[in-house]
């Protein structure tokens, strides 16, 4: 399944990927800035995300919240999100509004600062603090989101601290920080622009040059702190958090080769064999047979800088002791690490991964985001067309070798939530 791709750069360093598809009269515009929470300085956790909010508050020629209104009026959808090492902004619009979407992105890349005011900043800080309360503080297990990175990355590692930030650091941030951040990171040479859908290439090339061409490149952003890590944790670290939760929950993390490396694909298949949907080992053993878990899943962080993480996430049924959950899970991990793995299980995992990859191509915006990702992380958007082949190259032997090397006792971090009253 090959999608057409044309990749080029503007003189100012903006990398562009175009992928036409005339099936439906819509077009997806997607922009990745290569900056995230990892770039925050000490005392400013959560700033990259707060900054993302400010980007919707207008720019030189756009009023507050007008970006949202213009796109919605055009019959489009839009959003943005902040991650450890990138921030993305995207719109999907009816095809004839391509110019509007590009122009809006260009205006805020070129000239955000004239629209920034103290009032808007204070309001967005309140919004972000409420987002933190809603997604982290006011839900059971919500803090796993910050606790796990703090455990699996050393204290001085750029990925260690909270992405959504602490209330104290958010309060300490100022409008000056906004100006500084913008000038340092929101530059065309630090960005990748992708357009997917029903557009004419010549017109897109012309509009992109017209709107983005004159934006000056940045002055080399400061390098990220060291992200290199040893291949494994070197130990099994275990932390139990006692909280008012209805039942125990285990996050079991393994340090694995970086996303996109040859070994990584075998690792993804390991995760699927253990934790994908209902045909996986942990579901069969813990949910169905022993009835001691209600939910099982496995995921990776997809990190290219340093090392990646594979995480098993298991929620126990109420009444199960927190201390009993982990050994039940690691029993199956140990089996895998000892080479107990069948062709059938690997084929099952690959069949589902293949369907999932195909389904990810259906939506123009999902396709665009993946193209931006491959451009940013690998400088190769065309990788989207070979991902399926990389998975198909995984064998039962390579899965066994991966588990043996990376899923043993010397490479585990356990974060366990146990029901109870938190210590005073």
């Amino acid at each position: 399944m090959d999608i057409p791709i044309r990749a080029y750069s503007l003189a100012n360093g903006l990398r562009v990927t175009l992928s036409p598809d005339h099936t439906a009269p819509i077009v997806a515009v997607n922009l990745w800035y290569h900056v995230g929470s990892a770039n925050e300085r000490p005392g400013r956790t959560g700033f990259a995300h707060l900054f993302e909010h400010m980007l919707f508050q207008g720019s030189a020629h756009v009023g507050a919240n007008e970006h949202f209104e213009l796109i919605q009026r055009a019959g489009g959808t839009l959003n943005g999100s902040t991650w450890l090492d990138r921030t993305n902004y995207f719109e999907t619009v009816p095809a004839h509004h391509l110019g509007l979407a590009l122009w809006l992105e260009a205006d805020r890349m070129a000239n955000l600062l004239p629209a920034m005011t103290e009032d808007k900043f204070r309001t967005q800080r309140d919004v972000v603090k409420n987002e933190r309360r809603w997604s982290v503080d006011n839900r059971p297990y919500g803090t796993w989101w910050e606790r796990l990175p703090a455990l699996v990355f050393p204290a001085d590692h750029p990925f260690h601290h909270s992405l959504i930030g602490s209330m104290e650091d958010l309060d300490a941030a100022s409008l000056d920080d906004v100006a500084d951040f913008f000038r340092t990171f929101y530059t065309p040479d630090n960005a990748v622009l992708t357009v997917v859908g029903d557009f004419a290439e010549a017109e897109a090339v012309h509009l992109i040059e017209e709107y983005f061409g004159a934006i000056p490149p940045g002055n080399a952003k400061p390098p990220l702190g060291h992200t290199e890590l040893p291949d494994t944790f070197g130990t099994w670290r275990r932390v139990t958090v006692t909280e008012d939760v209805p039942s125990p929950r285990l996050f079991l993390a393994f340090r694995i080769p970086p996303f996109g490396s040859p070994e990584w694909y075998a690792g993804a298949v390991c995760g699927a064999v253990l934790g994908l949907r209902r045909g996986c080992r942990l579901h069969r053993a813990l949910v169905r047979e022993k009835q001691m878990a209600s939910d099982v899943t496995a995921f990776t962080y997809d990190l290219v800088k340093g090392r990646d993480l594979l995480v098993l996430d298991v929620t126990a049924r109420p009444g199960v002791e927190a201390a009993d959950l982990e050994p039940e899970v690691t029993h199956h991990v140990d089996r895998l690490a000892d080479g107990d793995i069948s062709d059938v299980e690997v084929a099952r995992a690959l069949a589902q991964i293949e369907t999932d990859l195909l389904a990810s191509l259906e939506s123009a915006q999902v396709r665009a985001d993946r193209l931006s990702m491959f451009a940013t992380y690998f400088d190769d958007p065309a990788r989207i067309n070979t991902e399926a082949d990389r998975f198909r190259a995984v064998t039962t032997a390579s899965v066994a070798a991966f588990a043996n090397r990376f899923m043993r006792r010397d490479n585990r971090t356990s974060l366990i939530f146990a029901p109870g009253t938190p210590p005073a």
Binding site: A74, D126, N138, P140, V245, R348, A351
Partner: protein, 427 residues
């Protein structure tokens, strides 16, 4: 059968919708039966057990979802067309010869109990459940969730599941939908295989009741000690999907709280910074589903936020909306319409909905014109007729000490205080 050939990618979504096999058909005190039956279809057939069913679907690169909503039970799978034959064989088995093994029924009852505990522990889901429980009368099916409460599900036995499946899963009520890389005649052939030799018996219509619990506006609080935020749900029972004002209500709601640039969201989030997001919506069902405004706000702004919501509801009833606001809503709804149908599963879901609610053949073709036809006067008329401040139920989940005084100050009387356990019992 409904077939929508879309040849772009080698993917097909196969969806089976069984109308009337939804939660609205649950007998009194057996709430959760429809959902349990739908889930149990995947837990064993005459030929294979639940583990084998899961594994064999996944060997084909797909997973089957089987669940009930209010008005139907739906099974769905998305996969490569080359594997469709085998998948249809498996689907035939789960649909036509489920075994309802006791062991798995007990397991699902236990999993449901675990889910209920998680629901009670999470303020946002607790607020959703509490709102419907307080909105609808004790005789109404809607007062208890689709999946039932612990006490109702604990009593569901194999005999009840078999009885329900026998009565409700019949060809007259079943639609097979195939969307994607599949030719129409192949779709007909596969659908026929699913439905061959199926005895035809028309099930009785549900006799469930839907009525409001309170005849006046009331304030309620579900106590969650030391909650980091206050979850608010403000609304009342509204109208069924079949209501002739569906389009004006959709446009009115977009302006009030259905868009990011809506009145409620801009007010609570962008102007006041009370919340990460606030929205309003009509939950369209075969009977009168709720209209509800939802938001999670700063605990110390609970009263102020509720006041702003009430003011916005009043304002859209009193003044005609501006031409600008109307055009934003209609342009958005009409323009975004095709964006919603990029995936085979989205198309299948829309077709299922059309079947369920008896939407006419040209519904999708005429959707945008129907939206564009709504006027400013229509918006005010339906706001006045269907938004009823005099029966609004204001439900808060948060710390009682901090929130109760703020609710009291709203002027609807002293808030009734509930415990999460009361919501769970659903009585």
């Amino acid at each position: 059968m409904v077939a929508a050939p879309i040849g772009r990618l080698p993917l097909v979504t196969a969806t089976v919708v069984v109308k009337g096999a939804g939660a609205f058909s649950d007998p009194a005190d057996a709430e959760g039966l429809a959902e349990l039956v739908a889930a149990m279809l995947l837990e064993g057939t005459a030929e294979r057990d639940g583990a084998a069913i899961a594994e064999q679907f996944e060997d084909l690169g797909t997973t089957v979802s089987s669940a009930a909503d209010w008005d139907a039970a739906t099974l769905s799978a998305t996969l490569h067309p080359d594997r469709l034959d085998r998948a249809v064989d498996l689907l035939h088995g789960v649909l036509r010869s489920p075994a309802f093994p006791e062991r798995e029924m007990a397991r699902l009852r236990g999993e449901h109990a675990a889910e209920r505990l998680q629901m009670l522990a999470e303020p946002r889901s607790l607020a959703d459940a509490a709102f419907e429980w307080l909105c609808y009368s004790s005789r109404s099916r809607y007062r208890r969730p689709i999946s039932g409460t612990r006490s109702t599900v604990d009593q569901l036995d194999r005999a009840a599941a078999v009885r329900t499946w026998t009565a409700q899963y019949v060809p007259a009520r079943t639609t097979v939908i195939l969307v994607g890389d599949i030719a129409v005649d192949r779709a007909v052939e596969l659908a026929s295989r699913l439905c061959d030799d199926w005895p035809a018996v028309e099930p009785p219509p549900p006799d469930a009741v839907t009525e409001a619990r309170h005849e006046i506006a009331r304030v309620h609080l579900v106590h969650k000690p030391d909650a980091a935020q206050c979850e608010l749900r403000i609304g009342h029972a509204a109208v069924p999907r079949s209501h002739p004002d569906y389009f004006p209500l959709t446009v009115m709601n977009a302006i009030l709280g259905g868009l990011f640039s809506s009145r409620i969201n801009l007010n609570l989030r962008e102007r006041h910074g009370y919340t990460y997001g606030a929205h309003s919506g009509f939950d369209w069902r075969s009977d009168a589903g709720p209209f509800v405004v939802s938001t999670a706000v700063n605990t110390d702004a609970a009263g102020a936020a509720a006041r702003e919501v009430l003011a916005e509801i009043e304002r859209i009833r009193t003044d005609v909306v501006s031409a600008d606001e109307l055009s934003l809503a209609t342009s958005y709804l009409a323009g975004v319409f095709p964006l919603r149908f990029e995936t085979t599963s989205a198309v299948a879901a829309a077709l299922a909905s059309a079947e369920l609610f008896g939407l006419h053949d040209r519904y999708f073709d005429e959707y945008r014109d129907s939206i564009a036809a709504v006027t400013r006067d229509d918006v005010r008329r339906v706001a006045q007729e269907q938004l009823r401040p005099d029966v609004l139920q204001i439900v808060a989940v948060g710390d009682r000490d901090a929130v109760a005084p703020q609710l009291e100050a709203l002027g609807f009387g002293t808030p009734t205080i509930h415990a999460a356990a009361d919501v769970e019992s659903g009585r």
